[in-house]
């Protein structure tokens, strides 16, 4: 992507630009052009908004221009004029307000879908610059190369804008199955051998019907006419028949075995590639997909493709060969009879084509419905405690039944077409045979052919139509495999929202200084973080506080690069984190979560998860530092004890300490504690706190906690509210300020006084909700009794 310095972002030869220029006075320059795509009534209609040094011009959908001066005749910016921007439900709005007169007046407003949002923000910024005193007209703006798309400064040694690079939407091509070639290519020599074997074995199977001609004409018919049978001739023919059969068998075995091996390998490669790609995708992909669906894609779909390649595709290739060779043989014996024999073929081909479309969409639908069925399982089984606790077994069963019913209905609909298909092909076969018989008898009566030729034709055509029948089956299996392949390539084609940079910056020694500049993040159309600026020094401990939903966890997710920011940038040690290789960057981040996840394996393996080459001594040292060593030794197999997927058999605090040891072992420069102690009791918290104190030393730490008491050691506290930083400073300073933090702290203190336990703001909300629940529960029996 090359960057242009032209401020309006479009080429001068553009007719739209020419029209804009016709509106301008001399000496008036365009600063920014915004194409809006909605009119005030929120209908899709094109419009333009143009900012110059003197005016704001707008063109509506009828092509009429209107303008508002932003400076007076003397060139001084009009006071009170302001441009407001906000967005909701995917619609952005710019409002021009005049605050000079007593009540603020709205002069005009424009609306657009969020595709134009970046440009709108640029217009907003340039407008503000125009309004500001002249001396502040940002001289650095011309020096820093800016991305032409989004107006962010480009990294000093690169033309690629980190923010725009990932907004690529290229739809995949439709011919999916051919794309499997990428996986078949490493096995092309085996595939070629397999093909040659197929050719040979098909030829071998075509020999026997041909031998019926001499058997009829030279042995059986003469015998019927009173001649003797020649044993030598009969022996020769029967021997040839046996030989052809044995040869066919051997060749068939060889190619089936070879191709089955190859297709199994292709299937395995496909599975591995898909899973590896899946792991590279960003978290929001997993948020949007259901586990059951992804599991079925990688598991059964790849298996289906494998079966298709090893069985059906192979059979189909053989069939095509067989038909081709048979046709050649038939024509060489008798062209006329051959013609009549092959006549129904185009008709059947046409029929197959008609049904194909119906079946393909049908099978795609079945797949989707099928993953709905598995999704119900994937939802219910992990949540079984909740299901049982609320006694909703019947409801879940009903949900499954509905999904299954839908599956049934879709299948029924498809089967209507499908079931008609095979019998029709059979019927056509019978009719074809009939035609051959009739035409053959007529030809024989004209002395054109012998009995032997007719029998050979009937023998060939029996196989021939038999193959057509099985070929018609290929339609459905190909479609099934194609839809499976499409669903797999959907994963493979998905570009990670957290893209790897083309030329990653190597991370040497990370100091851990973090700077967040104008950070914005949007989840779907909801903006979670906006305009956030924060600077964190290397080795500093920051406590993030705020109500739940204030954007703390999102900020942490952005810092870990689980998602990429929508606006602005996160800069670590002077480099935008989008310019580091993702894995390289994350290696320097230690993350301790509220719900520690332990993988199936031993405790030692779980501690060494982030550093598989760790020595036993390192593992033990990390466990000691995390205050986990002693309880681990109390387990029957100590460090070799197995823990399950949710760490059954270990308490919450114990699991948490294992995960702290895990973070300690990789020795990260940046440490993130996301509610590390909120799921455990106060006593355990003290244990964990001791472990954490070891962990925090000398690292840049960002800790989120509900209980403000856990953040006592933080150098600075950052208070967030609805996606923005509202206060920053040490505890004492913020207390003295009596602002947001003070209110949060006081609220918690009150909780401590009344309940003797330190619960956070959100905890208190939960507590009051729980109290209300208890209240309703007391009344419930009375109500139930009165019914």
């Amino acid at each position: 992507m090359q960057h242009k310095h032209s401020k309006d972002g479009s080429r001068p030869d553009d007719p739209a630009m020419a029209e804009i220029h016709s509106q301008l006075a001399t000496q008036e320059n365009v600063l920014c052009v915004l194409t809006v795509d909605l009119n005030p009534q929120l209908r899709f209609a094109p419009g333009l908004l143009v900012l110059t040094q003197q005016r704001l011009l707008a063109k509506n959908e009828q092509g009429d221009w209107s303008s508002w001066p932003i400076r007076d005749a003397a060139g001084v910016a009009l006071p009170g004029l302001a441009l407001h921007h906000f967005d909701h439900a995917g619609v952005g709005t710019l409002e021009l307000l005049d605050g000079a007169s007593a009540p603020t007046q709205r002069l005009a407003s424009w609306r657009f879908t969020l595709g134009a949002n970046v440009q709108a923000l640029r217009l907003l910024r340039l407008f503000a610059q125009q309004q500001a005193p002249v001396r502040a007209s940002a001289p650095d703006d011309d020096e820093l190369p800016l991305c032409p798309e989004c107006d962010l400064p480009l990294p000093p040694d690169s033309d690629e804008c980190p923010a725009c690079a990932h907004q690529v939407h290229t739809p995949p091509s439709t011919w999916v199955l051919l794309r499997l070639w990428r996986f078949a290519k490493p096995y092309r020599f085996q595939l070629l051998t397999g093909f040659l074997l197929t050719l040979a074995s098909t030829a071998a199977t075509l020999v026997p019907p041909y031998l019926t001609i001499p058997l009829m004409d030279e042995v059986l018919i003469p015998f019927q006419n009173g001649q003797q049978i020649d044993p030598a001739k009969v022996g020769l023919i029967l021997g040839a028949l046996l030989g052809a059969a044995v040869l066919g068998w051997a060749l068939n075995w060889a190619r089936t075995y070879l191709l089955a091996l190859v297709s199994e390998r292709i299937g395995a490669d496909l599975r591995t590639a898909t899973f590896e790609h899946l792991l590279d995708l960003s978290l929001d992909y997993f948020g949007g997909k259901r586990t059951g669906d992804l599991m079925s894609r990688i598991g059964s779909e790849s298996d289906r493709i494998c079966v298709f390649l090893s069985l059906h595709a192979l059979d189909f290739a053989t069939d095509v060969l067989m038909i081709g060779m048979t046709a050649v043989i038939l024509f060489s014996i008798n062209p006329w009879l051959a013609l009549v024999t092959l006549l129904p073929l185009p008709f059947i081909g046409w029929m197959i084509h008609i049904v194909r479309d119906k079946l393909r969409t049908g099978f795609e639908k079945i797949d989707r419905v099928w993953s709905d069925v598995t999704s119900v399982l994937a939802d219910t089984i992990p949540g079984i405690r909740v299901v049982k606790a609320f006694a909703q077994e019947k409801r879940e069963a009903q949900r499954f039944r509905v999904a299954n019913q839908l599956n049934l209905a879709v299948n029924d609909k498809l089967n209507k077409t499908w079931s008609l298909f095979t019998p029709t092909v059979s019927l056509l076969t019978e009719i074809g045979l009939l035609v051959v018989w009739a035409f053959g008898i007529w030809l024989m009566s004209k002395q054109q052919i012998t009995v032997g030729v007719l029998t050979a034709f009937i023998a060939y055509i029996g196989r021939f139509y038999g193959r057509l029948d099985s070929m018609s089956r290929i339609v459905s299996v190909t479609q099934k495999a194609a839809s499976g392949a499409k669903r797999i390539f959907d994963i493979l084609d998905h570009v990670s929202n957290v893209p790897e940079p083309a030329q990653p910056v190597k991370i040497g020694n990370l100091k851990g200084g973090i700077e967040m500049k104008g950070l914005g993040f949007r989840y779907g159309n909801r903006s979670v973080i906006r305009g956030l600026d924060l600077q964190i020094h290397p080795g500093e401990m920051i406590g993030l506080v705020g109500h739940s939903g204030s954007g703390k966890s999102t900020l942490v997710n952005l810092l870990c690069r689980f998602y990429d920011v929508s606006d602005g940038a996160i800069v670590v040690d002077g480099t935008d984190i989008r310019r580091f290789a993702v894995a390289d960057y994350r290696r320097h981040i230690g993350l301790v979560l509220q719900e520690p996840f332990l993988f199936f394996g031993t405790i030692a393996e779980n501690i060494a998860y982030g550093k598989p080459g760790a020595t036993r001594a390192e593992i033990v040292a990390a466990a000691r530092a995390a205050h986990a060593h002693e309880f681990i030794l109390r387990l029957p197999q100590a460090y070799d004890s197995l823990v399950g997927e949710r760490g059954q058999g270990l308490s919450g605090g114990e699991r948490q300490r294992i995960s702290i040891a895990r973070a300690l072992l990789i020795d990260p420069r940046i440490l993130i504690l996301d509610e590390a102690t909120s799921s455990v009791d106060t006593e355990t918290e003290k244990e964990i706190q001791k472990a954490l104190d070891n962990l925090v030393q000398g690292r840049t730490t960002i800790a989120i906690a509900h209980r403000l008491s856990t953040l006592r050691k933080a150098d600075r506290l950052v208070v967030m509210d609805r996606g923005q930083v509202v206060e920053v400073g040490p505890h004492d300073e913020l207390m003295a300020k009596q602002g947001h933090y003070w209110r949060l702290y006081e609220a918690q203190l009150r909780q401590v006084d009344t309940e003797g336990d330190d619960t956070g703001a959100a905890d208190s909300q939960i507590a009051s909700a729980a109290a209300q629940l208890a209240h309703t529960a007391q009344h419930a029996p009375q109500q139930a009794g009165s019914v």
Binding site: A89, L97, Q105, T113, S173, T361
Partner: protein
């Protein structure tokens, strides 16, 4: 605590300011500028449960039924809500760039013609009774009131994604 059956008499006043914002005046005389009405159930019951939220995100009033409001206030609210209810209803699918996703859709809506990108099949949400809600990549939601009511060509295109 919360009374779930509170009758929403006119215990507040709404007015539109010259700035285009809504002004809310509570019973206690407290004035809030720039309040936004938010539907609690935009899909299931749009006219039931509307919350008036202040600029700092706190609920000022709860309207159980839009119908219960005096006409003038209701008109004001509906006017404001109309701007927030931007969910173009798809009348016809003109074309889709591919049956795999991401796929660019060209559609005719009740608000004019447009195109959007469907990022994945899971962005199509079924609402029951043949109604669909489709999330475009730019955050705009598109609705289809009744799949069966679409024309044949549109239905055929749509079916490939369902």
């Amino acid at each position: 605590m919360t009374d779930f059956n509170s009758t929403p008499g006119p215990d507040f006043r709404l007015a539109r300011l010259a700035s285009g914002h809504l002004q809310f005046t509570g019973l206690d005389g407290e004035v809030h500028e720039g309040v936004t009405p938010v539907r609690a159930f935009p899909l299931a019951a749009p006219d039931e449960g509307i919350s008036l939220v202040s600029t700092d995100g706190h609920e000022l009033a709860w309207i159980a039924q839009l119908q219960d409001l005096p006409a003038a206030q209701r008109a004001l609210l509906q006017e404001e809500l109309a701007l927030r209810d931007f969910v173009p209803e798809i009348r016809r699918l003109k074309s889709v760039s591919s049956f795999g996703t991401p796929s660019q859709w060209a559609v005719e809506t009740d608000r004019g013609e447009t195109t959007f990108i469907l990022k994945g099949e899971e962005d199509i949400r079924r609402l029951g009774h043949g109604a669909l809600l489709i999330a475009g990549s730019e955050g705009v939601q598109y609705s289809i009131a009744d799949m069966a009511a679409l024309d044949r060509g549109s239905r055929r295109l749509l079916e490939r994604f369902l």
